[in-house]
């Protein structure tokens, strides 16, 4: 296990660890825009540059593995100046409309601009201008805010295995795009939205519904399938406006399109809030007690007449494990049959 010194602090990290990760383990912060712990190191934004003794130019800490005896300096006036120039360059090609940006307050670029105190820009010049398109209800792409960190491209390829987007064009015109510049037409898992460090990618359904600072977070479990992904509901004024997932969860923070975008039913006027009982071909609202009484009387009647095996139970995958456990217990112990199944048993 190589031993090294980062800013004078002794650190040892397993072979193959990058300087960035080793520094993180010693609680030494290094700024970065393109790094994601679960994606292949990229070395694109160049903010995480550090000085390594014996190497005559700064190296990106996200791509450089630690070696025995390495002496790393993560901050010095020259390094900070270079980082500041990089930020200035990024901001020179950015709308800088934080006042109306969804991501304000939760934007890595904004935060770095703040810490580096970048107000004036020496490099004002042409800015990329794109018209927004995409005829889908999920993902809004504002490519003028894209800093080409490529996290979206990598997550789509490496985690999702879809590869719906990639870098296109060259130089200043380089752009993340679906093939041939067409509209986004993927499975809309929204993983790209989750990792975007700026306001380039957002969910259409939470636009202007509330920024990160306005919300209350509630952790829960996704009701859609048997995977049981952890969700974090973003709640403002008692309404769920956005869904995310934390990295330290069973699903490592990854979600699918249903988990991420399928929350509109919560506030839907069509959502069932009481049991319904059908009488003469028509549903009417009922209380839980009334409904349970009806179920119990009917089940008893059927069991008496035809025996317990004439009854079967089918539970929903959208229930939690505990609910499903109780249900099979009820069918087996109370009804007295093994006819019980579950749609996520596949």
């Amino acid at each position: 296990m190589p031993n090294l010194r980062i800013d004078g602090i002794s650190v040892s990290a397993p072979e193959g660890t990058t300087i960035l990760d080793a520094a993180k383990s010693a609680d030494i912060p290094i700024p970065t825009l393109c790094h994601h712990p679960k994606l292949t190191p990229y070395g694109g934004c160049r903010l995480c540059i550090v000085d390594v003794k014996g190497i005559n130019r700064p190296v990106t800490s996200c791509t450089t593995p630690v070696t025995e005896g390495m002496e790393v300096s993560t901050t010095n006036p020259e390094i900070e100046k270079l980082r500041s120039t990089i930020l200035e360059l990024l901001l020179s090609d950015h709308p800088n409309d934080c006042m109306i940006c969804e991501k304000a307050g939760d934007c890595t670029l904004q935060e770095l601009a703040y810490f580096y105190g970048i107000r004036e820009n020496r490099f004002e010049g042409e800015r990329r201008q794109y018209t927004e398109k995409d005829d889908n209800p999920f993902i809004r792409r504002n490519m003028e805010k894209c800093i080409l960190c490529s996290k979206c491209v990598r997550i789509c390829d490496e985690i999702q295995g879809v590869g719906a987007i990639d870098l296109t064009y060259r130089g200043f015109n380089a752009k993340v795009s679906p093939p041939f510049g067409k509209d986004l037409n993927c499975e809309f898992c929204g993983q790209c939205v989750a990792v975007c460090p700026t306001g380039a990618l957002t969910g259409k359904m939470w636009v202007t519904k509330g920024r990160q600072k306005d919300i209350r977070e509630v952790d829960t479990v996704c009701p859609y399938c048997g995977c049981g992904c952890s969700l974090t509901l973003h709640i403002r004024r008692n309404r769920v406006i956005r869904v995310s997932s934390k990295e330290n969860t069973i699903n490592e923070g990854w979600l699918c399109s249903k988990g991420r975008f399928g929350f509109s039913f919560i506030n839907s006027p069509e959502r069932l809030k009481t049991p319904l009982i059908k009488e003469k071909g028509k549903f009417r609202e009922a209380s839980w007690d009334e409904a349970f009484d009806l179920i119990v009387s009917k089940l008893k009647k059927i069991r008496k007449k035809h025996g317990p095996d004439s009854i079967g139970g089918l539970a929903s995958a959208r229930c939690t494990n505990e609910e499903n456990y109780l249900f099979q217990k009820f069918i087996r112990a109370a009804v007295g049959t093994n006819n019980v199944d579950h749609c996520a048993r596949l």
């Binding site: 190191p41 270079l82 360059l89």
Partner: protein, 592 residues
Amino acid sequence: MKHDLIIKICMGTGGIASGGLDVMHAFRNQLGKKSIKADIKKHCSMHKVGCRGLCAKDVLVDIILNNVKTTYQFIKPYMVERIIEEHFINGNPVLEWVVSEDYHQFHDNQIKVVLSDCGIIDPEEIEAYINAGGYDALRQVMLTMSPGETIETIKKSGLRGRGGAGFPTGLKWEFCSKETSAQKYIICNADEGDPGAFMDRSVIEGNPHAVIEGMIIGAYSIGADNGYVYIRAEYPLAVERLRKALQQARKHKFLGKKILGKEFNFDIKVKLGAGAFVCGEETALIASIEGYRGMPKAKPPFPVYKGLWSKPTVINNVETLANIPYILRNGAEWYASFGTEKSKGTKVFALTGKIRNSGLIEVPMGIPLREIIYDIGGGIENDMAFKAVQTGGPSGGCIPAKLLDIKVDYESLASVGSIVGSGGMVVLDENDCMVNITKFFLQFTQSESCGKCTPCRIGTKRLLEILERISSGNGRDGDIKLLEDLSHDIKATSLCGLGQTAPNPILSTIKYFRDEYEAHIKEKKCPAGVCKDLLSYIILDQFCKGCGACKRVCPAGAISGERKAVHKIDTQTCVKCGACIESCKFKAIRKG
């Protein structure tokens, strides 16, 4: 078979562009008409040959009649009949079409290793290469030398990578040979992309087998059984000749299974590049072969440890590989006898720009720049004053007239802020504006940046914008400092060689031609008279005869004046095309 008459026609891309194919047809037709055709197979042979360097005089034709060689220049199809009549039949060369002294001066001052067979042998015939000693080195290596001995020889020769960075080739091979992997690769980088550079193209067009032989020897040395030539699709002739040569090499069992009866299998695939300059960078090149977008990756890991498909891979440039057979044939000491202490051997340069003999040259490392420009290049076109030479393409810098006696080798050029690079040499004269030249290179790097890293993607754009405003008369105080600062930061932070070197043209021109930048910014003048926005055209009253010639050629209708009266140019309407100056017989129009 001995031929009494051998005709060799230059059929590199340059030769063909100048009409080489038509000249060849003309020879074939005329020889038929003069009823020499019947004997053609017996006494006469006609060959396509690759570039011999002096492209400016194409189509060049060598006639070897009874062992006497005569070279003709600027040959057109209509000249063929007279050559056959007077030279072939009567034995009197057509002296007025024979090359002049400068052709010999161009060649006599060079030392040719890589190019020694280019322009002499037929690149489409493997026998021609074999007869000239080709594949002897491979035989010698495989039958008498171990991989280790071969690497040792290359190390001793001092050969360094000719693609630009100058890394010692033998060392690279040694690193890779020590890797234990069931699969290794050798790649020939033929993605030559520097503007004005055509060394690699000419080598492949003129002698593809030397590159192939170099690759086989490299593969044997490092233990690779697969090779790739990554070549730009914009070089169709080179691709065609390379493919033909690979076919022939397979037929002769130099490629394939059990080469020369030994337990050594090796074959080469051709991979066409899709026109991205950055794919000349080795990690981007590897990504491109693997089917990904051509984007550089951070090093380490270096390709010799983890390259193509994550296997140990050696990537050598065309010229580097073409040197290998000659080094092994003649010995490491022979090769090391050329050049300087740290830069051994010879280097091919593409000499272009305002030079009389533009073309491809091969010179020993360490040759004074002056010799290249004046002895080989024949001096500046139209006897203008030499201003600078731009070496190393978009990654290089400009060397001003006061440094004309500098030695051309890796270290010396680096010490003055330029590089040898892949071998482009663009000669500039007093009519070239250094800001404008720099702008050209930045336009190139800006549009060829892959866009992956911030400093290169946005930084080069901003450099270009600053240069554009300087050359359009909108330069601001502090712009030179801003260019220098941003250049420094881009060099320090860019991911790959493209970004790390893109600001070099700016830094070197500011270093040597700061006064030109200042004239543009402060006086709003372009001293060389190139930057259009800083120019105005005026008619000098005392010389104007009122002939109206300028008025007639002006495409913008900016010139007015009665016949025989002094004319005037409306500077608002003038598009500064310069047509009026060319049309004026009385030199009455000036720009400034």
